[in-house]
Symmetry: none
Subunit: 173 residues, 2 copies
DNA sequence: TTCTATCCCATGCTATCCCATATCCACAGG
DNA sequence: CCTGTGGATATGGGATAGCATGGGATAGAA
């Protein structure tokens, strides 16, 4: 099972060494408790801090899927800069409409000393998240899925689906 | 309030850490009381102070919508320079018209120790604001909307509308 | 005075902090 | 190769502090 079961707890990891990890990879299945708290997997936290130097992340709804996308602040701010280029010289309503959607739905969250964030009801709704979150590395960002919803989303790589099923099974669900 | 309720009171948070937050993000639904007082959400206050070092903000009418735009003082001062760029070589009335609208109707407000500002009748009229205000992050500024009015404004991202409806429902309105 | 704006205090709610426990992985020793 | 041990991680629960909001008191202005 390449990729499965390497992390400390939740799933496929990127190694636990002290190396500076500059990209997000691996799959992790973590719980959302009654207070809507979610532990951000330690390898992802390490990458966040390695890339941005902050214990903060930005969560926003994905554009084409019912899931959430997570960015470190460095990546998020570069997104902002890309928008400035994309709308350069454009002072019409399209720019403000875009910014409203992008920033209005984005939440900047800080995780505590135990590595947990609190998911607002809005984020949980936008990401179809209930009691379990699947975190998937995506290079310079990561995704948060409802595992059930990913499994029934068409067009996924069957090997990824196997990995997800293995994680769910390992957790007893 | 059972079911969807979150945030200290109204909306999406960005943590309370003392970390520098350089952009405005998230959606918050706050009340305007009988004295026209409005609580500026704590995360927005934190960004204001992080960016400008002042407990002050500037409110002005938006260019393309019937809503208000909020700036920290640092951002507001840089706006003047941008107007020079935007209207470079333009010696017609457009520039002065724009400047008149922007600066003539802008109000600089200081929030008190509980984080509240007082909305003048003029501002409330310009933003169509009555008893509830939706505050939306926009990157280096934020917007103040009447939630009902945003819901009926064409061209908005459906996920944003869903977010607004969820906020209204959480508050029981 | 009378009206209005600002300040101060009180309240209910919950996000956050702190401590405790269960769980798991890495590593080493048998 | 299997198993025991230690350290880090993910998670639970209670206590606390911060936040949005309401109401009354106070200080000016008309």
């Amino acid at each position: 099972m390449p990729g499965v079961s390497r992390g400390r707890r939740g799933g496929a990891g990127q190694g636990s060494g002290r190396f500076r990890v500059r990209h997000y990879s691996g799959a992790y299945l973590n719980a959302v408790d009654g207070k809507s708290r979610l532990s951000v997997p330690a390898p992802i936290r390490e990458t966040i801090e390695s890339r941005s130097g902050q214990k903060q992340l930005v969560l926003a709804p994905a554009e084409h899927n019912d899931c959430l996308v997570g960015y470190d602040l460095t990546r998020f701010e570069s997104l902002q800069a890309e928008i400035g280029v994309r709308f350069a010289g454009d002072y019409g309503p399209a720019r403000s409409d875009f910014a409203r959607a992008m920033f209005g739905m984005a939440e900047t969250l800080r995780y505590d000393d135990t590595g947990r964030i609190i998911l607002s009801p809005i984020l949980k709704d936008l990401g179809r998240i209930e009691t379990t979150v699947l975190l998937l590395g995506g290079g310079d960002y990561f995704e948060l899925w409802s595992p059930e919803h990913l499994l029934e989303t068409p067009g996924q790589d069957p090997r990824l689906l196997r990995t997800v099923r293995a994680l769910c099974a390992a957790r007893g669900r």
